[in-house]
Symmetry: C2
Subunit: 146 residues, 2 copies
């Protein structure tokens, strides 16, 4: 009898199940991103900035699930590549405000079709109803206090 028999099989372990499901979903997204000059992280940052407008770095980190040290490095290269712009906040000089540039928006637009196609393929196989159910449950899980 193994140790796991006391607990849950990895398939019913929430952290592992979330990771495996994500790998499935991300595989075609990574294929898409590899064609252009974007990593998965940069893609998330662009989407968050496009959604929220000009925000401080801590907000990006929280929304895009990145730690600040990673974000610092990534934004440095994204600024050099002209996808985002940064400025010091005048009220609170600790804050750096970040926004997406036209070039960044252009990259998002260029990959909109491919992105939607992937989402459609998943929807076609799972069904809209189940997918909405899943997204609702995931939102609820995010809100759990642990």
């Amino acid at each position: 009898m193994n140790t796991q028999s006391h607990t849950k099989s990895t398939a019913r372990s929430l952290p592992i199940a979330l990771l495996r499901a994500r790998e499935t979903v991300m595989a075609p997204v990574r294929d898409m991103l590899q064609g252009i000059q974007l990593t998965e992280q940069k893609w998330r940052i662009l989407r968050v900035l496009d959604e929220l407008g000009e925000v401080e770095q801590s907000t990006i980190a929280h929304e895009a699930c990145l730690l600040l040290p990673s974000l610092t490095r990534i934004l440095r290269t994204m600024e050099a590549e002209g996808q985002i712009s940064r400025r010091q906040d005048s009220q609170d000089k600790r804050r750096t405000m970040v926004k997406i540039t036209d070039e960044g928006r252009r990259i998002l637009e260029e990959n909109l079709a491919a992105s939607l196609e992937i989402a459609d393929k998943i929807e076609a196989q799972m069904g809209r109803k189940k997918l909405d159910n899943l997204l609702d449950l995931l939102e609820e899980l995010q809100a759990v206090k642990v």
Copy 2:
């Protein structure tokens, strides 16, 4: 009008929703693992090995969602620390068979209680029914061909 208004808000984006949910679930797990000498990846490897017995590295990589180059490095240190053992397969000399050691099992057992407590906290807030529903949907998503 931003680019995202054509697509989905990040909260309804499956890859991002999966990532955010996972961060919520993993936060307390990382706290638990930091207390001992284990990273999240090593913890997954031990769980998979405990569940599957002696397997080749490709199987571990697939089950624990790790790429082989990462696994190569991680198993090297885990072997040095006595948590797993490796041997060349006699039939197929390309294969390396890996199994968990008593020391590895001891580490799993030591953290069983903490691990279960985290799972219980989440269950207490989400409810068993919703959690099972979520796990079912995640398993189904994993099986989707994209």
